[in-house]
C-alpha cells in the first residue's frame, strides 16, 4: 500500500512551492483511490474474442512502463545491479585480474574494441566528463535505463537523472581500466546495438 501511494505523494509535493515542501504532511488515511473509469463503449463479443495476448505500445505506455519515478529508488538498491554488471563485463570482455587495455599495435585491439561497443551499460557507474551543457558536467551515477537518445543515471542522492547521450562524453571504469565513451556513438537503441555492424573508423566529435 505504501509503495502505491508514494508515487502520488511525490506528485503532490512537487506541486507545492519548493521552500514549503518540507512542511507537506500527507495522511495516508485520507487518500482514496478511484480505480478504473466508466466504460465508454460496450464492446461487442466478437471484438473481445480478438483481443491479443500482447500489449500494444499505447497500453504499455498507459501502464507507465516507459517512465521511471524520479525519487523512489535508493542508490543502495542499485548496488547489487552494479555487482551483477561487473561480473557480466568480466565475462563479456574475457578479462582476468590485472588486465590492461590492449595497445593499438596489439593483435587483440580490434576484437577488444568491437566487443566494447556492444557492451551493455545497464548497471554501469558512469560519469559525465564533458558536455555542451555545463550543468550536466560531473554528474555521476549508476545507469538504470538506456534508450535511444537518453541515459537515466541514479545518483548518490537517490535521484534518477535523465541525460541526453549525443551532447555528452562519458567516463567508465572497469577494474583498473578507464574508458571514455563519446555519447554520439551510443545513439542507437540498446537492443539494436548488439547486432549493429561497426565501421572501422569513427571520429570523435569534440
Amino acid at each position: 500500500m505504501e509503495h502505491a501511494t508514494s508515487e502520488l505523494r511525490e506528485f503532490i509535493s512537487d506541486l507545492v512551492i519548493p521552500h514549503q515542501r518540507c512542511n507537506v504532511n500527507i495522511n495516508p488515511d485520507h487518500i482514496t483511490m478511484l480505480e478504473g473509469t466508466k466504460i465508454k463503449k460496450q464492446h461487442s463479443r466478437k471484438r473481445r474474442a480478438h483481443k491479443s495476448s500482447t500489449l500494444s505500445r499505447r497500453e504499455y505506455a498507459a501502464l507507465g512502463l516507459n517512465t521511471l519515478p524520479t525519487k523512489q529508488m535508493k542508490y543502495e538498491e542499485a548496488l547489487p545491479l552494479h555487482h551483477l554488471w561487473k561480473g557480466y563485463v568480466r565475462e563479456h570482455l574475457q578479462l582476468r585480474e590485472g588486465d590492461e587495455v590492449p595497445k593499438v599495435h596489439d593483435g587483440r585491439y580490434d576484437e577488444f574494441s568491437r566487443k566494447l561497443v556492444k557492451l551493455d551499460l545497464h548497471g554501469a557507474k558512469l560519469k559525465v566528463l564533458q558536455s555542451k551543457c555545463s550543468t550536466l558536467e560531473s554528474l555521476a551515477g549508476i545507469c538504470v535505463m538506456d534508450t535511444k537518445n537518453v541515459l537515466k543515471l541514479l545518483g548518490k542522492d537517490h535521484r534518477v537523472r535523465t541525460i541526453p547521450k549525443s551532447e555528452c562524453v562519458f567516463g567508465l571504469k572497469v577494474g583498473n581500466m578507464e574508458f571514455t565513451i563519446f555519447g554520439q556513438h551510443l545513439n542507437i537503441r540498446p537492443a539494436e546495438r548488439s547486432v549493429k555492424k561497426i565501421k572501422n573508423f569513427v571520429k570523435p566529435f569534440m
Binding site: 500482447t54 500489449l55 512502463l65 521511471l68 545491479l81 561480473g87 556492444k118 551493455d120 545497464h122
Partner: protein
Amino acid sequence: MSKDNKMKHLTQLGISSRMNFLFQASNLMAVGNQPKLAAYYGKLCRNVGNKAVMHMAPALKRSLCRRCFLPLIPGVNTELHVAEGAQDAKTAAHAPSNGAAKTKKKRHRRQRKKPQSQNTGNTNQEESEVQIQESTEQLSLFLECSLCCGRRSFAANSQRDCWLEQPQSMVQVVSFPKEKDQR
C-alpha cells in the same frame, strides 16, 4: 564443419551473455520491488534475442509475463493458483482466448470416444484410470501478473514435455574453458 560450428557459437557468445545478464537483472529488480525496471529489462532481453535471431530457453521464457515481460516469481510477485472447474462452461467462457477453450473441448471429445469403442473388453478399473488421467490433464495452474493482469497458465500434465526439455533434443554440448578465479 566442427570449426565452423565453433566459430558460430563464439560469435553469438556476446549476445547470449548479454541476454543472461539482462534476465538476471530483471529477476533482481523484481525481488527488489522495482516492477517497472524489471519489466523493462525483461523486455530488453526479449528484444535483444529477437534482433540477433536467438531463442530464450523455454523454461526461462515461461517465467516472464507474456504481456509486460515482468518476471513472475511465485511467492514474491505473484501466487500460483489452480484454475477452478475447467469442465464448467462458465469458466471456459472466461478463459483468456477462445481458441484455447475450443481445443480443450475437442480433446475431451476424442478421449471419450476411444474408451467407448474399446469398452467391450475393458474392466471398470481401467475406465476409472482413464478418468483420473483426464481430470489431471484438464487441471491447469496459472500465474497472474501484478502489473498488467495478464495470465500465464500451464497444464499440469507431466507426460507432455516441451521438445527442447527432452533429452533426445540434445545434439551436441559445447563447453568453454572456465575461468579459474571469478574475481
